[in-house]
Symmetry: C2
């Protein structure tokens, strides 16, 4: 195994240590003496101290921001401020040069827009280092949480012939030659010549297949990429994003809510424990960004406050109907301050309504249940009132809906009827209906958009800044 030690480990060692090797990239080089080296393992740099007299001028000149170096020497207690230890290096080796004249990342602050155009290099910056380390820890915490609780990680298909929600805008997947698309005698595309022998697209959700898994293993979760060909250039949409979709047999909506709340708190707490330095950096970044906004647009809570707010408060649970009444009767609504006035039961709640409930009214995360069936998907369990379904959405400060879930309709006849009402083909989804014919049982699940969660935890406003290589309309670089 390699002889060098990760800087994260070095920084936790007790000095002195006679001989130690590190490898990383130069952040800064001051006074021909102090090299700040970072290897991406943590936010902090290791200070490497050299005696310039010991090194030739050529080597010193090659110690530039971005260059990869090896440093070997003695780890000693640091007399300088800001670090506990430093490496007194007797040996330096340049492993990879970095021309300071052409290197796009200069030792100054770059805009997020600029860095987005240099996504192949931005992971080396402090901000994106923090974002992607936290993204990693969230992913790990998710796997760990479910594994500990006996959930099976199920890989649902990415290429599929079905459109789970019956609504998404789909990316088509094909091996046909687009310049010479074969047509049949009716002038339609002849999909019998396509790879799968029929029209295929990228999945918008693994839920329906996930339900099949839950009816075999009791508890499963998915964690995979999903796709929307929505032509919207916003800070909240990606064409390619990752979703987590747990699905549990023998769970009703209350069990579902309990699990979702425990899950969310667990993964945020995990990051709070593992990444104090990264979070502090991001909190300071956010604070500075917010300070440039006009007062009324600023978000009231700081990043760490917001995370603790979620972890420490029991989520408020309320039906859609009650939430609707609160909103309708709110001073905010009466003064016509909502862009979408709250008047008609059955309307879909907008982000502004969700944020009002969370940030102004309850002042804690809110779970809204029992939505009107007309604004929810066909597979949600119908309530006896004939107009609502056992849905739940979890609403977060600053972000609105972060989780959507429901108890599923396990009654074959009810499900079939709803599919027919919505013109969803029972033949196409025979396998889904089969799960209700053969040992179907009450079950529930929810979906979490992974990037939304990374946004929430890192305080990054633009969703393009929380995935390494974002895919959006007209943008497929790298």
């Amino acid at each position: 195994m390699p002889d060098h030690i990760r800087i994260q480990e070095v920084l936790q060692m007790e000095p002195p240590r006679p001989s130690l090797t590190i490898k990383g990239w130069v952040r800064t080089f001051r006074n021909d003496q102090f090299i700040a080296v970072n290897d991406g393992s943590c936010h902090e740099n290791l200070q490497v101290v050299i005696d310039p007299a010991q090194f030739d001028a050529t080597t010193l000149k090659r110690i530039t921001t971005g260059a990869a170096i090896m440093a070997r020497g003695e780890l000693v207690a640091s007399i300088g401020r800001g670090q506990k230890v430093e490496l007194k290096a007797s040996q330096i080796e340049i492993l990879g040069d970095c021309d300071p004249e052409t290197y796009p990342l200069q030792p100054k602050k770059h805009s997020l827009e600029f860095l987005r155009e240099h996504a192949h290099l931005r992971m080396r910056t402090q901000t994106f280092g923090a974002v992607f380390r936290i993204r990693h820890s969230l992913a790990y915490a998710i796997h760990h949480f479910f594994h500990q609780r006996g959930f099976i990680y199920l890989h649902t298909p990415i290429i599929t012939a079905s459109d789970a929600e019956g609504a998404g805008e789909l990316f088509q997947v094909t091996t046909l030659d687009l310049q010479h698309v074969p047509l049949n005698e009716r002038g339609e595309v002849d999909y019998s010549q396509d790879f799968f022998g029929r029209k295929a697209n990228l999945t918008v959700s693994g839920q329906l297949e996930g339900e099949l898994g839950a009816l075999a293993f009791s508890r499963i979760y998915t964690f995979g990429p999903t796709f929307r060909a929505e032509n919207s250039n916003t800070t909240r949409h990606l064409a390619e994003f990752w979703m987590i979709e747990p699905e549990m047999a023998f769970y009703d909506l209350n069990d579902n809510m309990d699990l979702a709340e425990e899950f969310i708190k667990y993964i945020i707490r995990f990051v709070l424990e593992q990444h104090p330095a990264d979070l502090q950096w991001l909190a300071a970044r956010l604070k500075e960004e917010e300070s440039k906004k006009p007062q009324q647009e600023r978000f009231e809570m700081e990043l760490l406050e917001k995370l603790h707010f979620v972890v420490e408060n029991p989520f408020e649970r309320i039906t859609y109907t009650d939430a609707f009444e609160i909103l309708k009767n709110s001073p905010h609504n009466k003064k016509k301050k909502f862009q979408f006035p709250v008047e008609q039961w059955g309307m879909d709640l907008q982000s502004e309504h969700e944020r009002y409930l969370v940030e102004k009214y309850f002042k804690k995360p809110v779970i809204i249940t029992d939505y009107p069936k007309e604004i929810k998907a066909f597979y949600m369990r119908q309530n006896d009132d004939g107009r609502t379904v056992r849905a739940m959405d979890i609403l977060f400060p600053g972000i609105g809906e972060i989780v959507g879930g429901s108890q599923r309709e396990e009654r074959y006849d009810r499900l079939l009827q709803r599919m027919q009402e919505l013109h969803i083909s029972p033949q196409e989804l025979y396998w889904y209906l089969d799960s209700r014919r053969f040992g179907g049982c009450p079950h529930s699940g929810f979906g979490l958009g992974f990037e939304r969660m990374v946004q929430f935890v890192t305080g990054m406003n633009n969703i393009r800044d929380v995935i390494p290589f974002p895919r959006t309309p007209k943008n497929i670089a790298f």
Copy 2:
């Protein structure tokens, strides 16, 4: 949280326990008295014992194979053979009926082909239960292994404009209307009207983007779906499969081999420890399957023997050139027993050659290094001999190549020259070349086909039987 307890946990409890609730599916119901219930949490069933006199005939009739039930009662030591505890149920509730007349899974052995056509239900069988529980544990062990060693899980893009290997057969991703594909004035497809403004396809590997991550975080790994539009209907190919691709800065080929070997042994050992019952079931299944083959086609080792063989033997490391000589001079080759005779240095090794080295010659897993550059990818580090590259392939008994990796070419000029020789556009891959211009450094990585590993560990011969919903030519069901 729900009041029922997973059967895996129940089976580990010390009897007696006064009141306990379980939920699961009926495997068998004997003598109106003994219900074998499984909830997918483990291979073993829980025996639920009822006094038929306590239940009405309608309920008893609904306790059929596949039905979902709740059972509540006292957990007691079992006097019967085959189980330590059993549940004396005072209460039974049918949660979901299963009509024995139409249920495709009868309480008998079904062929794997039949079950493939019923992939929505096959996860409920003992064989596929075992396969997918083990698949889960392998995935979890992978995340755990890398997390513990400071690797960052990097989500590389699924939709991409680049073809990493320059070789794969690609699935195209589009939102154009295939019946009316827009053409430009030259009669070519007008991709400016497509979603991404240019031709897009599904990734064949995340490696190139992974390298960018390694040059920021030192150590990263990917674990995501990859795609090949290869029109081959074999037991070894899927159009959609999952890959793990770790990439490490400051690792040379030896470090890379050390890591790969440690990694493979770790994840297999994890399954050996966690899934003894599932493995035993699969071993018996394989043994029976093998027994039907003619003697000379049978695999010599049994499943558990094969797993221990890998975990307990240091992998043999040998150069391609030495391996070539061994093969060329082998009695097997001289007697012309290879389908592809070993004659010319530079030839690619076939599965039969790989298996000969592993199973006959070394009798342990083998890592072959320093392959001829002409049969390897452009990004592998060139050796000074001018004809080989720092590649490594790990070969396994029964399966041949399971891991492919290399030290990467970190020298800008050499990389550029090789790309030009192979007509790979430096303009298209400017971002990849940038990683060599700015603080590039020695680095290495490898790729593991996840399904190949699941096949190896479960002993399933057909790769379609180790992924929940396989995608192959003309097959996109579910």
